[in-house]
Amino acid sequence: MKCLIFSDAVDTANQLVSFFSGIMEVDCIVPEAVAKAVSAHCSGNIFAMKESVFPDSITAVIAKTYRNSKYDYVFLGSTAIGRDVAGMLSVDLGLNVAAEITSFKLDGSSCVTKRYFYGGKTVIEESSNARILTVMPGIAEPKSAPAAGKISEVSQEASQVTMVSRESKAAGSVDLEKASIIVSVGRGIGNKENIEKIKPLADAVHGEIAGSRPVCLDYHWLSEDRQVGLSGKKVKPKMYIALGISGQIQHIAGIRGSKIVVAVNKDKSAPIFEEADYGLVGDLFQIVPKLVAAIKG
């Protein structure tokens, strides 16, 4: 068995390569910027793409590589581009897709996979003949490979869409997946300045600060790499402290691995209390300073 892996996100690429190397032979096809990092985890061929932003041109080069070398599977990291490529590739190659998987097992000529459904409320386990799979980040810890992979360049056709401008996002420095305590804020924090008010709590517990999707993505009160949830980071700290987060299913999907969940919310019927070990009903701005005092006690 042999597979081809694509991801435009370094972390996800490393995770996928490490996970699937335990099951089959792995080659990668990744943007040039990812190739170097992934070579420490993949002893197979690493095809580096130079001109790699748009899904149509990425799809074309993956399809060509797939046809040339008879791969059994194509695994794509579930990123914005990865999902677009999966859709395009499935039409071009006429192959079935399993989307957003969180686990993978071979079962003869089929595979058994798991994914969240209903926005994260349930988990579907299914058996399919899928050959293209989008894989959620967090499937495995990156492991180093016995030998570094061979990097070679692949040429890509130009995209049919025209680039006007591009801007890199500020590179994040947090590693939420490894944090042992996380203090996470939701829309209940009210504004960006208020984040200062919960920092004493994060400091007191030596925790990382994270947030819900609106806080990170819509309002940019925190950087995007601090988003927890279905479309953000799946975290597994010893303790997850949720402040002013309602607990929508898409957020809960990211915190299920937490050992203990503490929730502070002024609405006693907020769904977060159904998913918490300890809950405090009240105004977070009153509760947080008291909590800090009690912790330092």
């Binding site: 435009d8 999966a86 039409v91 957003e100 459904f117 801007e167 996002k169 898409q250 912790i295």
Partner: protein, 248 residues
């Protein structure tokens, strides 16, 4: 330049109200209210904004069931002009859904096809790529901003490590993110008029495509203790103790 815009809208069960059976973990989807899917709303909102700027007409297509006229009416109230409900939807099957939708899209002269980048309940995220490829139209994806400039579509797209602005000729398929806009609450007048807009209902002849076999679909067990304090003076010492233990 007046534009013909097609929006793809999905109807879903209200996942926020979804409960699971406490003993089996199975989702209890029967009798749940149905509503317009979140990202479909963002797509409708964006269509309405593009029309407000450029003029034109908005069509919506929903591959759903006999019950999907209510989702269409929600879209009408937001500003969609004409609707197509295709019945025969039997559940998550992106290969089939994309074929059914593409067949209808081809029958309507259009400049732009708008859809969500990932739907809120199944979030496969496969439809934008599939629809673009089946139609042979260019894709601008994960848009956080859309403009029409000199008869071309220009979108700012949110990618993993960068934000890219790109442009393409029309017709084009454009997928939108949740961040692109805040869907409007329809004004009462438009809600009242929604029933009078043309709605075309037809059944699809396209059969199931994806042979994925569902082994189980259950909620992961929550073993949380759910010790909730309404009296915070009592709660804070307890919670502080738990936090101290965890941070040791």
């Amino acid at each position: 330049m007046a534009l013909n815009i097609i929006v793809l809208i999905k109807q879903i069960v209200d996942i926020d109200l979804l409960k699971v059976n406490p003993s089996t973990g199975s989702p209890e989807v029967q009798n749940l209210p149905l509503r317009l899917e979140n990202l479909s709303k963002n797509a409708v909102e964006e269509a309405v904004r593009i029309k407000e700027k450029n003029g034109g007409k908005i069509y919506a297509i929903c591959f759903g069931t006999e019950k999907s006229s209510s989702a269409m009416k929600e879209a009408f109230a937001m500003g969609v002009d004409e609707g197509f409900v295709i019945t025969g939807y039997q559940g998550n099957d992106p290969a089939r859904t994309s074929m059914v939708l593409a067949e209808k899209i081809r029958a309507i002269p259009h400049d732009i096809v708008l859809l969500g980048n990932q739907s809120a309940e199944s979030y496969t995220g496969l439809l934008p790529g599939k629809i673009s490829r089946i139609l042979g139209e260019r894709l601008l994806s994960n848009a956080i901003k859309i403009e029409i400039v000199n008869g071309r579509a220009r979108a700012t797209m949110a990618m993993e490590s960068e934000t890219v602005t790109a442009e393409t000729q029309l017709p084009a398929v454009i997928s939108v993110t949740q961040e692109i806009n805040e869907p409007r609450l329809p004004p009462v007048m438009q809600i009242l008029q929604a029933g009078r807009k043309p709605m075309n209902v037809s059944a699809t002849g396209i059969k199931e495509v994806t042979p994925n076999k569902i082994i189980s679909n259950i909620a992961p067990k929550s073993e949380r203790r759910k010790i909730v304090f309404e009296d915070i003076e009592k709660g804070i010492p307890e919670v502080a103790k738990a936090i101290r233990e965890a941070s040791r």
